[in-house]
Symmetry: C2
Subunit: 894 residues, 2 copies
């Protein structure tokens, strides 16, 4: 029979070192502390497997568990010499939830369980402290009613207030045993009123109620939301920990406290914590009394008067400090610890790896490696790559006041303030003139790019984490809040409304792209400082990783940023971004709206020098490195004129009637542009466009090669679905290369390859590989087509899909390994079967996502390409992926 209950403490540890997936984090750590001999109050853990069974059986318990729990209670009874429900010397226990990872949104603790109208009298006698006994009982009723029975806790607080008023006192400490006893009576009446039944007096009933409530809390809304936000699977379940009570409130020789073995904010190597004499743990957290410092140094630094624990309880403090060191050495990580001192005796209630800021994580990892506590690889594994984002963008001053008026998706990190403007043109004009502006749009489109560049940040009312606004903003390193649905924008009146709040053009707002918050007025920000530890960790990560890291960039500024952040080439240069420049757009539009090839060629001839100039700049910045240039991809109508004036400009330039242009523009409208006339389909129907681009690339490469390191252009053909398409475009590129090389009497090396971004391309990868020197997985579009989800429109259901667990995570943020991943694996396999040296990379948004990078490592890709500000994250994630992949392979004896 499966074992569901694991005992610990008093020399027993059923589970040995403790498995977190089985016992939860708290249970595993209690078991482990017991195993290494630390003073842990005896108890037992009901495993997460019981949680799964509980839900599978329609929220009921199997009979067998009752016997196991009874055995657990017996263990505590024998260790403490007390008896559960015994009137003379009652055993009191705590009941706590404990998932595999810490979930602050979960059920609170229930303390003092086992007290009832009779055992409270025994406790008073045994402890010699009736006030303590009655206080404990009323606390228990209050907690149990709130946490287990779900009764309105306001009513209980009210009753306490009344009790103090009746007595004419202000502090809990001013109440005496009889007052507490009286309040207990009031509480019991309240329970009967609100719950319709008397407060449960049977200790067994109390226990099972608490256990059921812990399991039930796993599927409470707040737990679900926490899981969704933190990517925790819904089937993990929680464990339940039942443990003998120890009391920090048994007088002046008792105390309770929380501590970190290092500073969780800065990472500094100092004991860091707080304690309270004669208090239960909840008092430390609740803020009713001001906790005191743990160490004398901390107290002095803060200029506080109340004695530190080091001063008031030197002996216990000494023991505690030894435990800190022991735990840190044992777990080889900074610990977050809860302890209680009961009448001079120290008990450890909890230890776990402490949460820390990104800066602290970096410093602790690097310093622990330097101290020899962990090795460098382990240090690399210790820092959450996603958290580095915090260090790479300005953030809001945590002390500044915020007037939050709306909340959207945290689309691109960083904070920014500026005048709200509602169109790209105004953003470009005012931003260009040096003013700080926030561009606010219902959604953005490629024509807004200049305005987005000129803005400090972008706010949209519609669109998800991978909407146009989000993707471009991340690429540019601009903060962005997208899909703030409560905002209603009125372009005509140049204002937005959120409920009653009206923000007009020019009003200052602040956005915070890591939280999704939108605030009225300017909120102060703090600039990031990249500490030296950052560089050290990057070197270690680079040493560990196998994947190369490239960047998605096309502007000289982005290219420079990326190279400074360690990019080893460009994995995606989107040539169309260069088409929106004000000086060029008229020529681009003339090209698109031309009625024939001659008209297109005339316009393209005007674009050629500009494109060549762009490539030359990029090649110089990336000298000696590979630069993957994607030929024109988006549907042509994205470049169309909108205003009368723009139409007139193009008509003048092209020498045709405005009416003709307008008709042609209408013809270019598409129902589903994502699946329309774009990518290599443009290159096949209008070969002169790709011919111009290829010529610009080769001419630029030759110019740069003449006086510095030759770039290695990797020309990438988008949206290929068949071998024939790639063959036709490859031949066009090769013809153009020969022509340019002949004209200039010089040549450069170059590659021709393709995006794999359609399911058909993945399926036919074997054939397509015959024509390709590299594949780059365009996972944005591959996700859209494989899942049949338009990322521009997904906002309406994707959030709900993730909440409901239909998708474990947003598939545009982290690769859908089951579906899209299957196609990538298959394409890699089929492509390499035909051409073993085929270079494989990924250039979708996923290239900067740590989980997706781990998938790329597993799949054997050669590189990932991330937006410039995610390059350090990708480097660290790639290092971790390589280490984990190696460990897994070794684990399998490979």
């Amino acid at each position: 029979m499966t074992q569901y209950v694991y005992r610990f403490g008093a020399g027993v540890s059923d589970s040995g070192r403790g498995d977190k997936s089985l016992l939860g984090g708290k249970g595993a750590n209690l078991a482990e502390m017991a195993t290494i001999g630390l003073p842990v109050p005896p108890g037992f853990t009901i495993s997460t497997a019981m949680c799964a069974l509980y839900y599978a059986q329609g929220e009921t318990f199997p009979d067998s568990i009752r016997e196991e729990v009874a055995r657990g209670i017996a263990h505590i009874e024998s260790a403490t010499g007390k008896t559960f429900g015994n009137v003379a010397d009652p055993l009191l226990v705590s009941v706590r939830s404990g998932a595999r990872v810490s979930m602050p949104g979960m059920m609170d603790t229930v303390l003092n369980l086992g007290l009832n109208d009779e055992t409270v009298v025994g406790l008073a006698a045994i402890s010699g402290d009736p006030r303590f006994a009655w206080d404990s009982y009323r606390r228990f009723i209050q907690m149990y009613s709130d946490v287990v029975l779900g009764l309105d806790h306001g009513r209980f607080e009210e009753a306490l207030e009344i009790a103090k008023e009746d007595k004419g006192v202000h502090l809990d400490t001013d109440l005496e045993a009889s007052d507490w006893e009286k309040l207990t009576g009031a509480y019991k009446d309240l329970v009967e009123e609100l719950w319709g039944k008397p407060f449960p007096q049977d200790a067994e009933d109390q226990l099972w109620g608490a256990i059921g409530a812990v399991f039930g809390s796993w599927n409470a809304d707040r737990a679900k939301i926490y899981r969704r936000l933190n990517g925790i699977p819904g089937d993990w379940g929680t464990a339940v920990n039942v443990q003998a009570m120890v009391f920090g409130n048994m007088g002046e020789s008792s105390a309770t406290g929380v501590a970190f073995t290092r500073n969780p904010s800065t990472g500094e190597r100092d004991y860091y914590g707080e304690y309270l004499i004669n208090a239960q743990g909840e008092d430390v957290v609740a803020g009713i009394r001001t906790p005191q410092y743990l160490t004398r140094a901390a107290r002095e630094a803060a200029g506080a008067k109340a004695a530190s624990m080091e001063e008031s309880m030197p002996e216990v403090y000494g023991e505690l400090a030894r435990v800190f060191d022991l735990l840190e050495r044992h777990y080889r990580d900074m610990q977050d610890i809860e302890f209680t001192v009961e009448r001079g005796k120290l008990f450890m209630l909890q230890t776990r790896s402490g949460k820390r800021t990104a800066a602290a994580a970096l410093r602790i990892a690097v310093e622990m490696a330097q101290e020899g506590l962990i090795d460098e690889d382990e240090a690399v594994l210790r820092v959450d790559p996603s958290a580095l984002d915090q260090l790479l963008h300005p953030t809001l001053d945590p002390d500044a006041e915020r007037n939050v008026i709306a909340k959207g998706l945290p689309a691109s990190p960083g904070a920014a303030s500026g005048a709200a403007v509602f169109d790209a043109e105004t953003a470009a004009r005012r931003g260009g003139a040096g003013e700080k502006v926030i561009l606010v749009r219902i959604e953005t489109s490629p024509e807004d790019i200049a305005g987005m560049h000129a803005a400090q940040g972008i706010l949209t009312a519609r669109g998800g984490m991978t909407s146009h606004a989000a993707v471009v903003a991340r690429g540019m390193g601009r903060p962005c809040v997208s899909g703030a649905g409560s905002i209603s924008i009125d372009y005509r009146s140049r204002l937005m409304r959120i409920g009653d709040v009206e923000v007009r053009e020019g009003d200052i707002i602040t956005i915070e792209g890591s939280s999704g918050e939108v605030m009225l007025g300017e909120v102060a920000t703090v600039q990031p400082a990249l500490a030296g530890d950052f560089g050290t960790l990057m070197v270690w990560a680079d040493r560990a990783r196998r994947l190369r890291i490239r960047t998605n960039a096309e502007t000289p500024a982005d290219c420079r940023t990326a190279r400074e952040f360690g990019a080893e080439g460009i994995g995606l240069c989107r040539t169309e971004h260069m088409f929106f420049d004000a000086e060029r757009i008229t020529n681009v539009r003339q090209m698109i709206l031309a009625g024939d090839e001659a008209g297109r060629r005339a316009a393209l001839a005007k674009l050629l020098p500009a494109q060549r100039g762009d490539f030359e700049q990029i090649f110089r910045i990336m000298a000696g490195l590979p630069v993957t240039i994607r030929l024109l991809d988006p549907p042509l109508h994205e470049f169309l004129p909108h205003s009368e004036e723009e139409f007139a400009d193009v008509a003048r330039a092209a020498g045709v009637e405005v009416e003709t242009l307008r008709r042609r523009a209408a013809e270019l409208h598409e129902v589903n542009p994502m699946l329309g006339h774009r990518g290599c389909r443009l290159g096949i129907t209008y070969p002169e466009i790709y011919e111009m681009q290829a010529r610009a690339i080769f001419e630029a490469a030759l110019a740069v090669a003449a006086d510095s390191d030759a770039p290695i252009p990797e020309i990438m053909v988008p949206l290929v679905g068949t071998r024939a398409e790639l063959r036709i475009i490859r031949e066009l590129i090769e013809r153009t290369a020969r022509a340019v090389f002949d004209e200039k009497g010089a040549s450069v090396d170059y590659l021709v390859g393709t995006m794999i971004e359609l399911p058909r391309a993945a399926l036919m990868a074997g054939q397509i590989a015959e024509e390709a020197q590299f594949f780059s997985f365009g996972t944005n579009d591959l996700t859209q087509t494989t899942l049949g989800v338009s990322r521009d429109d997904a906002g309406r259901f994707l959030t709900q899909y993730v909440e409901m667990g239909i998708f474990a995570r947003d598939p545009f943020v982290s690769i859908d390994e089951d579906g899209v991943g299957q196609l990538i694996g298959l394409a890699a396999e089929r492509g390499r079967a035909v051409k073993p040296a085929l270079k494989l990379g990924i250039c979708g948004e996923h290239g900067g996502d740590p989980d997706s990078i781990a998938f790329c490592e597993k799949t054997g890709l050669d590189y990932v390409s991330a937006s410039p500000y995610r390059v350090p994250i990708a480097r660290l994630a790639a290092g971790q992926a390589a280490l984990r992949h190696k460990a897994a392979a070794e684990g399998l004896g490979l």
Copy 2:
């Protein structure tokens, strides 16, 4: 070494029975006729493999072929006793192209090759007929200049006219030897003027010129277009046939003719043909002289005077009739024959399976089986299923005059005339009042459905073969011409322009959906008559087939048509089509625009009785058969109001402000609706919609089961991409079923399954099958997502893609087996691995396409579902697929 030249005739046949893929159709038949001892002029065939090599080597010949051709010429020389290029007794040959299937768009024949200034004199002497010799020479120069040298043939005809004018005669026959000799001189001058070189005198040069021209003709524009229209792969190549000339123009005992062994128009069992005495084959075709009938009966029936061949050449006719019978017995099919009589001796120049009308094909197949010439299975295989389309729709009277003003795609067969109207509302109004109208739109959308129904036919300026207009029109059996790009529609002025032609609302036009023609005025049509042979063949096809045939239908009329045509159930009932009814659309709109669930439920309650009524009607018509009902699929914004009046209607019905509705409507706009909030995504975010639909289905099924055969509802969930989606919707359906069955105290059997129409669904089919009782492959959307091609927008490049050979056929017409087919195969395999009894079907447009049906047979699906008018086609195609699949399996010894 590979053999490229195959000799035939005079007792030799290098290739035995002749392989069409190697020798082409003509070459294979010549070889075969030679093998069975028929009098074939000796010759040889250069194989299609050489054509491929010719193109692979940059349009040059390998040296080895020259030796092989020389050996071929030697064979003809030895058989005829004449020598190629010999002045005294020159061998003359014909050179003809010959692809695997007949391609009328290919190169013409070159006759009399081998003549030059010297051999013409020898030919005159040997034949004793200088007029014949010089006429032959000038014909040769004329043909060679046109076909091989590509010179302007008008100039040659002009020269002939001048020669006749100079002589003062009107007919070629009035010219004498010296006139032809003089004209020959003029022709040679013309060649030198136009070509810049003298006419080639060397017989070898002439021959290689002709061979090169035949191979070159394979990639001429007209051949490419023909291939595209007929689905012939570009890599098949053509063969070249070189054959000794025989002359039907050597006096009154010579003749030439063409014949069919049965009537190719009606299928009647009669020799059918024409001949001309003292003529070359081209004269029969060219229409310069009126050909005479072959049989006396035909002559008499036509009331013609000129003697039939049966009367004028009874002996040769008798021999010919024996050859006809022999050939028909040998090939077991109706033959299309060319013959020549040279001085009383019969030569067979060609035989091939004769092209025939659909009606003739049916009759011939059925009669031949009844005659015992072929068996019933063979008869089933003999009729091209696609050709049945001709028999199922009214067609234009072939004798009526047509004023064609535009041409589009043949989107839905049949012909129709009516008043042009430019919006659906007018179509519904005027059509509803009994007027015949043709609905003309730039493109159609779901809201046009009522207007499409009321119209006789649909014409669109945009959209491909599977655009909305095309798909819906085929489903309704309405003729449709789509994507007529030359039409410019002006909705405001209610007119369309094609060049200078203006068609105003109310002007009568005619469209022909099988040719894509658009005509001014009314053109008479003929109604189809389904002959008894049709029914006989269907019975045989049904006996042969394994696949079940269902239909895509939702109106009672369509359901009845389909059942009459033999549908065995409904494979796709699109519930959304029922939402456009004028009485319901306001409720539908109220539901969509409701701000909350309560609002939606209120509107749905009003829709429930209507939906239940729809299903009841369908269940009654389809009593006892399975009816697959797809829950609401399209994005909600397709149902939105457009006009002020419509908004006002909905606002009144819902009791909200128009402005609120307008805002909500704007929110529903999608960038890529195909990949948006639709299908089961709607059912998950708004479960009340599917709940209403499921309730309507179960209530209707119970009502019908109460008094007739119970229907078997198969409830189909669209756009599933994950197992979880299907599980959630399945549970919702089952809950609803339990509720309805409890209320009514009765139950019916039903199935719950899913469309497989996303690549991810195919990849995850194993998991999804756990929740499904059937899969139906939605190949329209699966093609769109796998290829990343929106069928609404594909028009801009798909035609060119097919012309360039990037796709062998339009993937929306015939399943892309390489890509989409791979996913279907994989899904079928993974689904059945989990659930061996999983029912598999297909319900895309491909369900009515014979090639796709063959694929479904191979893949082991259980049924295909086609639009009502394609059900007979699907039955026949399924019969053929089963027979071919069985034959292939037996061929592999399976």
